[in-house]
Amino acid sequence: MSDKQKQKNLRPKDVKGTLIRLFSYFRFNKSLFFTGILLVFVSSFAQIEANAMLSPIIDALVVYDDMNRFIKYLMVMVILVIVISVGQYLGSLFMAKLAQNTVHKIREDMFSHMEKLPISFFDSHAHGDLMSTFTNDVDMLGQSLEQSISQFIIAVVSVVGTFIMMLILSPILTVVVVAMLFVMFLSVRYVGKRSAMYFRNQQAALADMNGYIEEMMSGQKVVKVFNYEERAIESFNRKNEEMRKASTKASTYGVMLMPIMGNLSYVKYALVSMFGAFLVMKSRITVGNIASFLQYTRTISRPITQFSNQLNTLFAALAGAERIFNVLDEEVEEYEGDVRLVRDEKNGDYWKVPKENGEYDKVPLKGYITFENVNFGYVENQKVLKNINLYAKPGQKIALVGSTGAGKTTITNLINRFYEIDEGVILYDGIDIRRINKLDLRSTMSMVLQDVHLFEGTVADNIRYGRLDATDEEVEEAAKLANAHYFIKNLPNGYNTFLTADGGNLSQGERQLLSIARAAVANPTILILDEATSSVDTRTEKLIAEGMDKLMEGRTTFVIAHRLSTVRDSNAIMVLEHGEIIERGDHDDLMRQKGRYYDLNTGKIELE
């Protein structure tokens, strides 16, 4: 990603729209929202009143020398203070609850939306970016929500309320204050603009450096092997220096606002003292009034300062919110399909195919797969599969071989409708798979992929992933089939051993065996094995193969593999090249043909 692009990521494109959408989330917590706002409103208002009370309290002493009056006003202040404290506490609490509930809902929505997105979305978006949107952006949003709403209200109430009080007390002094406020506003704008720019620079430099760190740390072993250390240090130092300069600048401008605003406020304080003194001498206002006014100068500028400090982070949070909404706006995968699967233990599962006249056909679930003239490309005008025709009967093992990128994995992406074909038709038991409900379709298939993905949980949980209601016996049976049972028994807690993320505490081979067990327990009609045993040595593969044969009995299997041993006894082998099937037949047929299949295995034959 270029630097410019990275910077743009911090500017929200449509502030108004994003804010409106955010606010619409508050409807789930209406009472919290309105009560919270009310409380914040009331407490900030009370705060202004409390400051205003200083004036009559002091005057009661100085001007009127009236103890009763003094006590009366003091009591009012006490009540106000109680109101402020309770109001502030409850108000902040409600706002925090609102923020947490909102973030909770957003997280929930994001996750369930993500689960429904098509595979094409995941293939076309960097997983790191998605992760960042889910975590960083949501966190930032939560923090901003909690503080910004309250602070905004406090700022508005304080400013407006204080302004009115000041006006009532003394128009002249108010003019003085407003003049200074204008100066302060100009300074905020000047510093604010620079601060925002340097803040974005800093974030970009940070992203750049962090990206480099991540790459270098992950590939540290390669660095060692190639004596790349010096060069890595050089590159890193350059980025580190960039980061230092950008951070220093950003921080300077960011922090600078405080002494500027604080001291301009003191200038205001000085002016109010001076002019106030004149006015007292002319008997236009009282000494007590000065006290109040001085407090007002503080209460009017502090919330503005605090809020403008937050602006940078607020904008970054809004930019994050936009990214969140972009994900939520992505189109989901439709499970459409009027053909449904019916599970019937007694008579056998079948497809319920609706007819035009409202009745149903019952087509038994067998596992016939037919590809007729199938064409497909991930990107328009770039066909990955051309004119594919193949036919598989239940219980047959069809092997797909060919060089990397020839389209083998793509075929499996199409069978379970991770992607939809462009032209042609795929028939499942004679039914166009586009008519079959996706969830039902996939429930009859099991995939064992090259990249094994396991989940946090026990070994048994992971195997049960194939079928949630599998009994312990069924789980063990599946494990035995995959030859995983023995190593599982040797684990510290056997089947109840907890696996860390992605099965990190197991070897590559063991993870693959588990993945095979998982597929086995699902009892599928169609089995897809994509380089399922590439990480397993040939001895273990042989052990699995015996079980696999049992697993494959009566099921239609598609196998993608490089190893001759895996492919050799298939009922039909399809050789793919540049998306087309160029040879087909069983092993002996193809060897006789001395074509591509023969070539691919030539390495072995030549050496014989």
Partner: protein, 574 residues
Amino acid sequence: MKTLLPYMKKYWIYAVLSPILMILEVLADIIIPYLMSRIVDIGIVNHDIDFIVRTGIIMIISALLAMAFGIMSAHAGARAGYGFAAEIREDVFKKVQSFSFANLDTFTVSSLITRLTNDCNTLGQVTMMSLRMAIRAPFLMLFGLIMAFKINSSLARVFMITIPLTVFSMIAILKKARPLFRSMQTRIDKVNAVIQENLIGIRVVKSFNRQDYEEKKFKRRNDSLRDVALNAISTIIFLMPMLNLIIYSTIIAVLWFGGQQVRIGTMGNGELISFITYITQIMMSLMMISMFFMQLLRGIASGGRILEVLGTESEIKEIENPVKNLNNGSIAFNHVSFKYPGSREYTLKDINFHVESGEMLGIIGSTGSSKSTLVQLIPRLYDVTEGAVIVGGKDVKEYDIKVLRDQVAFVLQKNTLFSGTLRDNMKWGNENATDEEIIKALKQAQAWEFVSKYEDGLDHWVEQGGNNFSGGQKQRLCIARALIKSPKIIILDDSTSAVDMTTDAKIQKTFKEELKDVTKIVIAQRISSIKNADRIIVMHEGQIESIGDHETLINISPIYREIYESQEKGVVGE
């Protein structure tokens, strides 16, 4: 923590200036309420306009001076803080570059990333905050107290109650909040873990139709996070209102007692007003101090993690006057045994074999038989526990490590490419490689056939991790990268598993013909990959089961025979 101080050396001026300027700012600010009280008590009372104006102007100048000091202090603080963080980060990165494989295993990649990013950042921010807050707040408080006592010492005694009360309550609240926040962090990690799993394994989720299951799992953790977060935040929320309450209560108390004194004339009105101003100032400073302590704790934790890295030494050490030249590519293992640091079991036991320069050695054996470990001892990625590895006639420990690793090319099992152009990646093998040399290596690795098809050729962009290439392509590129080194020894650790047999055979042919003088060590799963080796080692559970060439092994090694048969005759037994 003190050990980290030297990193400030480059920026010490700023580190000193920042607090000094801060103090000046504070001094300039402190005076202002005091001057205001004089305007009221002297200026107004005596109707002395001149005095009022003069004092007012002094106040304004003071404020402007304070502003200047404040800005300069902010800048100095930023320079010191971020400079400090940058120096530390540089050293930590350098340190990691010097780590051995064993060190990297101990620390794990993700924790190293966190230490370099989050922890260094935290240190920088805490330093910056310390330079400002740690000086400003106590000073403000101290001067405020002095002024308050100066104005009216009896009234100022109210602080003797207020301050301890505030401190006590703040500590109580923070103490309660800390474990809650830690618990919140754990919940956050758990939520993120599910998200991560689903992002990576979405295909598995969808093909097994586990969307509902995952959503329920997520909901449980999300709900838990919200509950704990609310708990934690509710505790912290007490702080501000409580502080406000204390401040206002103090003000009310002062008004009551001070009011009496004003009535009887032992205190001026102006004094009362400025006293009230100081109350707010003192209490706010107190709060800043406690905030600072919280940050300091975070900083100390981060500092600790950084010191862990800085204090780690690689166990691979170079001798004085190392040999700077490798005579030839012969290799010998003499009674080599190895166990991983901290492990009780031996991974390799009594390994003995030798390879002549230019020969090809094949290594085969079941998963987990420690083949990778064995070859990693050759370029000293790990050191032997017992015995010696002899390369080019000398113990590997005698060589200059850089020279050794330049001459021994290693293609790891996990093929990592880096973001950049293909040319950049290839140049990892040799900074000064010309395009011709690069193309030659690509041809030898059978990678030119697909690289030549790219419009931008060698300028073709490689995504992070090399994700825009297929498994087989990545392997071939990594082999090419290693070949560019023009090494005396090349080690391929299962580097052709994703490559089809024809290509594999072509690579072998090229190696045999064009790399005659290079010692080739190949670890493989396929017999076909190593069949033509001059020597083959069959590994089993960390020991050599047999050594010999292909024909010999078929006769004497049951393991070899089994592998051979399973590959030749197909999976279903004859």
